[in-house]
Amino acid sequence: MSGLELFADGAIAFLRWDVMLAILAGMSLGLFFGLLPGIGGVTALALLLPLVQGMDPMPGLAFLLSVHAVIYNGGSVTAVLFGVPGAPPSAATLIDGQPLARQGRAAYAIAAALSASAIGGVIGALALGLLLPVLQPVVFLLGSPETFLLALAGVACLAILGKGSMTKGLIAGGLGLCLAMVGYQQTTGVPRFWFGSDYLLDGFRAVPVITGLFAVPELVRLALPGQAIGIHRTDSTLPARQILDGILAPLRHWALTLRSSLLGVLVGITPGVGGEAASFIAYGTAKHAAANADEFGQGAIEGVIAPEAANNAKEGGALVPTLALGIPGSSGMVLLLGAFQLLGLEPGARFLKTHMDLAVGLTLTLAAANLVSAVAMLALARPLVLVSAVPGRVLAPVLLAIVLLGVYAVDGSFMDVGVAFLFGGLGLIMQGLGYARAALVLGFVLGRLIETYFSISMQAYGAGFLLRPTTLAIALLLVAGMFWRPAVQILVRRR
């Protein structure tokens, strides 16, 4: 199939009224959650995951991707106006955005941030659109042994390359894989580890596990006494002249915008590096390369443009390994893989083989959501920022109500609500002790797939499947990829 035909198929999947509606709804919710400090992209996805149950794959994925793609746009506005980043990646924007706001140029900084985000998002989507057709033929070469190995390596990568201790990451990933083993075995249909509970016969459901692990701990944080969500606003007037200058600023600094966006794509493609890294790496690189480096931190517009462009571009990059190989580029992508399961799609290396139209449709969704959200945020910034003044004691029970409705709605089972709280407790402990919750979720989402492909590989090739040339090559590449960070750390320490 030619590139043009692939694009046409994707455009047909994308240009549907229900997809447009899903993008609009997702975008609005993404901007809303982005304005709430403490509710990051992953938490928002966990809260909204139950809503896609029963939807068609394209609108369901478009909804979640739109939420995730635009969430940091809202966070940049609160970062500039109040010095409170809506999500960790927006913290880099704060360094120069806040001084600009204090100089009375908040509108300039906000418009530049949103404009850079939109451009970065589109560049990220373009990179994704260009890379997917290149990767598709490669994916067709992958059999069950390679798929098994890639999925297993995805969990290991996230566990090893994530923040904190490698052992803790691997324990979390292993625990997720073990939890996926509960219930009917896919290849034999025999139930395991159910211990007399009918609920466990089908295994743990993705929605209560993911919502519990990611949303409940954030709600507990919000509910803690003294957790005011935002700072009362000072001045959020946005003069038109400043807005126009801000919109044009990333175009005036086009080389910086392009460089930061490509850097964001690269960071996104690298599994496990994480969302926060892209904006800070881009900020650091911009400062290092700038002629006015001493102005950084005191209100340099380049310090706003670079992190924003990189941050939104990285989503396109993160989708590349997620869609092509089933290896998530960021924690948000792990939850997106969870949504695949809910929508009846197989997450993993086979996705591109069967759903290239969806992949191209998602690329277009990413570009559209980034463009439209920047315009919407510019128009609605003033009234919307008031949302960030909602105190945690009000927001926590309201969001919990939505969580309970969503979790119950998936299967109509009240047990799911109990399981969500159980995993909420586990999430709190893991968060407190520094265990990667994303690794657990990825292990859980891919666990059954890994076992199935392992069984197929064993039946087809015996234990020798690990010695096939392609399997060996992938294994070597992945081992190298997984251990580059520890190796670099050891080298740096020796010097």
């Binding site: 580890f193 004691r393 520094g434």
Partner: protein, 154 residues
Amino acid sequence: MRDGELLFPGLIMVLILLALILDPVLYHHGLRVLGFPVGLGLATAGLCAWRLRQRWAERRRQRDVGEGQGSIEPASALPVAAALRAMLGLVAAVPLVWLLGFIVGLPLYVGAYVRWRGGAWRTTLIGAGIALAAALCFIELLGMPQPHGPLVWP
């Protein structure tokens, strides 16, 4: 001395090993069914044991350096008592919804919670109104399977 860094991997290890022992005892599953989970479980339990060993070594180093040197790995733990109270405040929604259903239980919970945490009556009513709107939206507009009435009665 309680140490979450020891308790958590220890508990995970015990639970995994318990599940791996109980399943063949209760259901007599063979290697074909249990082979893969046993491999995974043993690997994870082994990692937990490794983590326990690391933690013991960290504690020994801390003891050697002297008390009050702080944790080797920074943890972002919330204060346990406050987190437990906050969690209980959230879990309180479960019996209310169970007894009164989503349409009555959720607004009542949100209202009671906001009021309990010192919210003004206006804020309380707005919060409860949003919860009611969300419940109605889920049940009526989105056609989700929530029952209109209480969940506890058939």
